[in-house]
Symmetry: C2
Subunit: 374 residues, 2 copies
C-alpha cells in the first residue's frame, strides 16, 4: 500500500515534527512534507500553540507547486476553526491531490473528520504510514484525548543495586553530569514536573529548565528566548511549604496540591489547588490530582520525587513509563531503596514492565520501561 518513497518522506515529516518537542505543549508535535514524486517542495512543523500548524508552513513554502502534489502529515489535518483555520481546508484550496497521514486524530470527537473533508473534496487520502512512530511523538496528547488523564513518566536514579541514598541520607551525586543534563531535556519536553514537599524541604531544588544545560544539539534547534518552563506541581498535603524555597521565585508557574488552602503570602505565579484525600488517608488522592491536571490541559507529566511518591503513583497505576538512571555503584542493603510499595506476599503481585530502551549516558545506564497494566 505504501511505497519506499512514501516511507522516506513520512520519516522526514516525523523528523520535522520533533523540532517542536520543546515548545508545542500542550499542542501536539506535527510535521508536514509536500512532495512532487521524490522532490520535496514544502516542509513545516508546528512550533508553538497559537502559531500556524505544520501544513500551513509547508503549503506556504510549496506555493503553486502544491497543486497536484502529495502531502505527508504525521497527524490527521484538523477540520475545525480554532485559533487557526482548519488545515484540511487549506490543503483543499492548495490543489493538493493526495494526502498521507500517519494517524487519525486521537480525539474520538473529531477523529476521521479531517480525512472525510479531504475525501469529499476529491483528494486521495491514505492513513496509517509509520503510525507507531507518529504516536510516539505525542504520548501526552494522545493519552489526554483518549483517557482524559496525563501521560506520566517517572524518573528515578539509583545505584546498580537499587539504592538512592545512604542510610544517613547522603546521596549527592549518584549519577553523573551527563545523566543530569539528560534529565534537563526530559523536563523541557514535559507539561509539568511533579514533586513533593518532602523533596522541596530536603533539597530546595529549582525544578526548572536551564537552557545552558540542554546540550549543544538541543540548543542549536531551540533558542534561549523560547525556553518554556514546565509548570511545577508540588504535592503538599500537610501545608508544610512556605514561600521561602527558591523554586517559588524562579520563572514559571507553580501549583501547590493541598488538601486545604493555606494563608501564606504566595507570589502571583503560585496557585493553590485543593485536591480531595484518599479514603481513610490524609494524603491527597493522586488519581484525582492527575484528573485535575489533565482537565487543566497538562497532558505530559515528568515526576521527580522520592520513594514515597514513586511507590504511590505505581500503586495507583498512574505511571505510563519509567525512566531509570543507574549509576555504576553498589551501596548495600542498608542504603535507602528506590520505591515504597505495599508489602507484597506473592510474586504475581510484583509490578511488571517492558524494557523499551537501554542506553549508556556517559558512565550511567538509562533504562526506559513501559508499565504493563494488570
Amino acid at each position: 500500500m505504501f511505497t519506499h518513497l512514501n516511507t522516506r518522506l513520512m520519516l522526514r515529516a516525523i523528523q520535522l515534527a520533533k523540532r517542536g518537542r520543546f515548545t508545542t505543549a500542550p499542542n501536539p508535535n506535527v510535521g508536514c512534507v509536500i512532495a512532487r514524486g521524490e522532490e520535496i517542495v514544502g516542509e513545516g512543523f508546528h512550533y508553538r500553540a497559537g502559531e500556524p500548524h505544520a501544513e500551513v508552513f509547508a503549503l506556504k513554502q510549496a506555493g503553486t507547486l502544491a497543486k497536484g502534489a502529495t502531502a505527508y502529515v504525521t497527524l490527521e489535518p484538523c477540520s475545525h476553526y480554532g485559533r487557526t483555520p482548519p488545515c484540511a481546508e487549506a490543503l483543499i484550496k492548495s490543489g493538493i491531490s493526495k494526502v498521507i497521514c500517519a494517524m487519525v486524530d486521537p480525539n474520538p470527537m473529531v477523529a476521521g473528520r479531517g480525512v472525510e473533508m479531504l475525501q469529499k473534496a476529491g483528494i486521495d487520502v491514505q492513513v496509517g504510514l509509520l503510525e507507531e512512530e507518529a504516536r510516539a511523538l505525542n504520548l501526552g496528547f494522545i493519552k489526554s484525548m483518549t483517557k482524559k488523564m496525563p501521560f506520566v513518566e517517572l524518573k528515578l536514579a539509583s545505584s546498580l543495586d537499587g539504592k538512592t541514598a545512604l542510610a544517613n541520607g547522603e546521596s549527592k551525586w549518584i549519577t553523573g553530569s551527563c545523566a543530569r543534563a539528560d534529565v534537563q531535556r526530559h523536563r523541557a519536553q514535559a507539561g509539568a514536573i511533579l514533586s513533593t514537599s518532602a523533596t522541596v524541604i530536603a533539597d530546595d531544588p529549582s525544578l526548572n529548565v536551564r537552557w545552558s544545560e540542554l546540550g549543544e544539539q538541543v540548543q542549536a534547534q531551540y533558542a534561549q528566548e523560547d525556553v518554556r518552563q514546565p509548570i511545577r506541581v508540588i504535592i503538599d498535603s500537610q501545608n508544610r511549604l512556605t514561600p521561602a524555597y527558591q523554586l517559588f521565585h524562579l520563572p514559571g508557574k507553580t501549583i501547590l496540591a493541598r488538601t486545604e488552602k493555606g494563608d501564606e503570602d504566595w507570589p502571583e505565579s503560585v496557585s493553590q489547588w485543593v485536591v480531595p484525600t484518599r479514603q481513610n488517608s490524609q494524603q491527597i488522592d493522586l488519581t484525582e490530582l492527575m484528573r485535575q491536571l489533565a482537565e487543566a490541559g497538562i497532558n505530559h507529566i515528568w515526576v521527580e520525587a522520592g520513594a514515597g511518591l514513586a511507590g504511590g503513583l505505581l500503586d495507583a497505576q498512574l505511571v505510563d513509563s519509567l525512566i531509570l538512571y543507574q549509576a555504576p555503584k553498589l551501596m548495600g542493603a542498608d542504603s535507602r531503596s528506590l520505591m515504597n510499595l505495599p508489602t507484597l506476599t506473592a510474586m504475581d503481585q510484583v509490578i511488571d514492565l517492558n524494557i523499551t530502551d537501554v542506553r549508556m549516558v556517559d558512565c550511567d545506564l538509562k533504562i526506559t520501561a513501559a508499565i504493563k497494566r494488570s
Copy 2:
C-alpha cells in the same frame, strides 16, 4: 606496524581460540592461524589440557606449506617441555619465517622466553596485535599467573529496583528462562561455581552444567560427551550440610570449605577443605579460600549466592566482574536487597564499577561491570 591483513588473520585466531572455552580449563584458550600472505594454510586451537596446543594442530594442517609462512598466535608459544613438547620448537622446525603473537605469556617466570627462542632461530617475531581481545580470552589464566588469585565473576539477579525476593522469601522466578540459559553458559566456562550452605539449604540447587540447556549455538561446537562439570565450592562455615542434598550426588567434584572437618559420610567426589576464619569471626576467610583455590589450579570462579556472600566478596575486594541480570519488575522497598555491605557513612565509600557491556537477554537486562579497585 601491523597491517589490516594481520589484524584480520589474528581475529580469526581469536575466534578459533574461543572454540575451546568450555573445555580447556585450567589451561588457557589459544588459537593459531598459519597463512601465506592472505591464504590460510593451517588453523588450530587448544581443546583440552593434555591434548596438543593450537600451534601443533595448525602446523599439522599446513604441512610443508608452513615453510616461509606467517603464524598468528593469540598467546606467546610455549618454550618448555610440559605434557607436550614446546610449540616454539615445533614452529622453528616447520620453517615458519614470521610469528605474530597477540600477547606474551602472562606467567612472569616464562614471559618472553618463547619469543626469544623463535628469534634466536632467525624468525621475525612481532607482539601486541589485538592484545586486549586476546587477554579477554583468558581472564582467569592471566589473573592466576600474575596475582596467584582466581578471576571472580559474581552473578546476581534482581528486579529493576534491586530486589531479589519478597519479604517472605518468595523469589521464583525473577528472571526469565533465557537468562537462566545464559547462566548455564557462564557456568560451563568456569573452573568452579562458588556458593554457600545457606543457598544449598534454601534451594537444594544442582549447581551443574546441563548440556541440554546450553542452547543450539553452543551445542553445535561442544559435544555432549565433552561436558566438563566445574568444581562446586560450597562455603559451610558451621558444618550445616549433610550428604542429603542433591548436588553431592551429581557428576562433578564438590569442595566443602569449612572451619573444621565433619565426620559425615561423604561420597568420594566430595572433599572437605579446612580454611582459617577471619579474625574475630566464625566465618571462613574468603581471601584465604581464594588463595587456596588458585593454588589448586582453579583460576576462574563463577559465584552464585545470596546477599551475604556477594557483599562479603565485594567488601574483601575479591570480585573482578559483576554479571547482573535485571528482570523488568518492581518489588518495592520491603523486598530483600541484592547485597549486604557494611553500613556506609559517606558517598566516597560506595563501590565503583565500570559498566563494560549491556544487553537484553529476552525480556531481561544483562549488565556486565568491572569492579574498580580502590
